[in-house]
């Protein structure tokens, strides 16, 4: 079966299993929309909902609803993440209604502190103080994440700033040079909610992780969930990285780690390279361990090391011949030629160059159905073409011209066109005749002849007089390779 046929077959098999239930989905989707709208109005925790019932009662009785509302109802949710994750429910007067421990470490911090009706500032002093005493915040791990959720975006922003400054000042009082990350939670994306639910982390941490991952596609959210805020923060400190929704003041402490110089030395001495080219060091993570990723080149090889950032142990080392050298060297010239189209692809090598790179790698000069596409986000050209019964698929770095992947697959659709011109094969008619004469059948039903180009075989199938016949015939010699006759 050919790729296209297989694809269609699979699609239809799966599609047949899903009845068109669209009208049902549409009505549920709309209904959910109405319910969400109602929930929006009385949003937040289950705790608040219970209070709401009490309020309704008070409202009926008709006493001092407004002032009580200001005092009791939760106006903002503030999450603090270090490794302990704590949720503070705050009312309109900026007094704590409740402090909730979101993980085990947080229980240790909160213990039996009672914050009911306490000012945010006082509560923060106590909580941060406890985190310092218990060793969660210090010179080696100085990062804290603040997430503020308030229906009123302006209010949330004011709170965010206020709390970030407060925490920074508390920590500098403890002589800790802090890295304060803060964000307001504007919309709860499903993705963040799912991440938070699946891994039992706070919504704020989930949002932060998604922000980090968005700006560094090489990282995976699942690998970050078990890291502390400081560890995740360290990963955002690579040269190219940015954060989009999280505000950051001060850098994450890397004092727990051996440092870039040491990591470089370890890698170079292991590789026995003294004068590396294009040396790059970045933080990375794998299996909950923070790593230095060290990459460099010498005249012939490309090296890649992963080094445990704490212990200096070499986790992986790779050494590869630098195949695309010529290509990457050429790019600086071609940049200037092809950069005129638009501003955004100034540095891209251009479609023509990408095509040439692919064709020269494939050693094909006259491809069929050539298609070149630019993926701006990934900065890649994808080049697809057909030649001599094969489908070629290249992915090429749009800036350097390096071949990221190449794939060559037999494409049997193309063969159909070519097969008639292939004079070595006996042809479908001849194959059919051979089978029919062997079976002594002259008027077959449902006859089907197929060429399997790879195996150089014709398969001939037909029905006659209650039997199913199945022949395999050598496409060049016409020899019968197998014959089968079965009761239909």
């Amino acid at each position: 079966m050919k790729k296209k046929e297989l694809r269609n077959k699979l699609y239809s098999l799966y599609d047949a299993q899903v009845p068109d239930d669209f009208s049902n989905i549409l009505s549920k989707a709309k209904e959910k929309g109405r319910m969400e709208n109602m929930k929006e109005k009385t949003r937040k925790t289950g705790w608040f909902w219970k209070l709401g019932v009490a309020f309704t009662f008070l409202l009926v009785v008709g006493i001092g609803f407004y002032s009580l509302d200001r005092q009791y109802s939760v106006d903002s949710i503030i999450e603090l993440d270090v490794n302990p994750s704590i949720e503070l429910q705050v009312n309109k007067k900026d007094k704590i209604r409740k402090a909730v421990a979101l993980n085990e470490d947080a229980k240790e911090i909160l213990q039996d502190m009672d914050f009911e009706n306490v000012d945010i500032d006082i509560a923060l002093n106590a909580i941060i103080g406890s985190m310092v005493t218990k060793g969660y915040l210090n010179d080696l791990a100085n990062s804290i994440l603040i997430s503020v959720d308030n229906r009123d975006a302006e209010k949330a922003e004011v709170l965010r700033k206020q709390i970030a400054e407060k925490i920074d000042s508390i920590l500098s009082g403890d002589k800790i040079d802090s890295s304060v990350l803060s964000q307001t939670i504007k919309k709860q994306t499903t993705e963040a909610e799912e991440l938070a639910n699946n891994y039992n982390i706070s919504l704020g941490k989930a949002e932060f992780i998604l922000d980090v991952v968005k700006n560094n596609p090489l990282l995976k959210a699942e690998n970050l969930v078990n890291l502390s805020i400081n560890e995740i923060n360290v990963l955002t400190q690579n040269k190219t990285e940015r954060l989009s929704t999280v505000e950051k003041q001060g850098n994450a402490s890397t004092k727990a780690y051996i440092g870039e110089d040491k990591a470089r030395d370890i890698a170079l001495s292991h590789a026995k390279v003294t004068k590396p080219n294009a040396l790059e060091i970045e933080f990375d993570t794998e299996n909950g361990v923070i790593l230095y990723e060290v990459e460099f080149k010498d005249a012939t090889y490309e090296y890649e090391y992963e080094i445990d950032a704490k212990t200096g142990e070499i986790i992986t080392s790779k050494k590869e011949k630098e195949d695309d050298k010529e290509i990457s060297n050429n790019t600086s010239e071609t940049n200037t030629n092809t950069s005129t189209n638009t501003n955004t692809n100034r540095n891209f090598i251009g479609e023509d160059k990408a095509r040439d790179i692919a064709l020269s790698h494939a050693k094909v000069s006259n491809p069929q159905n050539l298609k070149v596409e630019l993926d701006r986000e990934d900065q890649e050209y994808s080049v697809e073409f057909y030649y001599d019964g094969y489908e070629y698929d290249y992915e090429i770095n749009a800036v350097s011209g390096a071949i990221l992947s190449s794939d060559k697959e037999r494409d049997d659709d193309a063969n159909k066109n070519v097969s008639s011109t292939n004079s070595n094969f006996i042809g479908e008619d001849k194959a059919r005749d051979i089978a029919l004469s062997h079976a002594k059948v002259s008027n077959p039903q449902n006859l089907k002849v197929e060429l399997d180009r790879e195996d150089q075989e014709y398969s001939v199938e037909f029905y006659y007089d209650g039997y199913e016949y199945d022949y395999e015939i050598n496409a060049v010699s016409g020899a019968i390779l197998s014959s089968d006759k079965e009761r239909d």
């Binding site: 079966m1 790729k3 296209k4 297989l6 694809r7 269609n8 077959k9 699979l10 699609y11 239809s12 098999l13 799966y14 599609d15 047949a16 299993q17 899903v18 068109d20 239930d21 669209f22 049902n24 989905i25 549409l26 549920k28 989707a29 959910k32 929309g33 969400e36 919309k187 994306t189 499903t190 993705e191 799912e194 991440l195 639910n197 699946n198 596609p217 995976k220 986000e377 994808s382 698929d393 992915e395 990221l404 992947s405 794939d407 697959e409």
Partner: protein, 174 residues
């Protein structure tokens, strides 16, 4: 009649997604994607009803979350992530269930050969092979994208993919 794979491309999916409140566009999106979403859900959940439920939930979520979709993302990847997350959270919640093939019977596949093919696919292919096959063929993801999704390196994905194709040819159920 065999349905053809609708050449899924990010541009047209994005257009439909951004216009999902239009019933017609929502329906088109549904018809295009129900099979890939179902196939992936089935591979994860291994139960037809759960997988169909997941298809439901994914589309309801798409309807509401389409406004949080950001243009520069790849819509198919985005939809895939939602499908994956929903399926995984279902796995955690549900009770153990009866086997997959019990409830996919002849009533779904009028042709015996289709049932055989599907059975072969489910029984003879390893989890990862199945996943790579349907991510490539049904979702239209590139091998490199699949490598990222499954946390494998590209060479592994390529060799597994080709091995799977070969395996299917050897199975000769079609």
């Amino acid at each position: 009649m065999q349905t053809k794979w609708p050449n899924l491309d990010n541009a047209s999916i994005e257009k439909l997604l951004l216009n999902i409140t239009n019933e017609e566009d929502f329906h088109t999106l549904y018809l295009l994607l129900k099979a890939p979403i179902y196939a992936y859900s089935l591979a994860i959940l291994k139960n037809k009803d759960d997988a169909l439920d997941n298809v439901h939930d994914v589309f309801i979520t798409l309807y509401h979350e389409s406004r949080t979709y950001e243009r520069k993302n790849k819509p198919l990847q985005w939809i895939f992530t939602i499908t994956k997350n929903k399926a995984i959270s279902k796995i955690r919640k549900r009770k153990p269930n009866n086997s997959l093939l019990e409830d996919i019977g002849t009533n779904v596949f009028p042709k015996e050969e289709d049932l055989l093919f599907f059975k072969g696919l489910m029984e003879k292919l390893k989890e990862e092979e199945k996943m790579i096959l349907l991510l490539h063929l049904l979702w239209g993801f590139k091998h490199r994208e699949i490598a990222t999704i499954l946390n494998l390196n590209l060479q592994t994905v390529l060799s597994k993919y080709h091995r799977t194709i070969k395996k299917l040819k050897e199975m000769e159920v079609f």
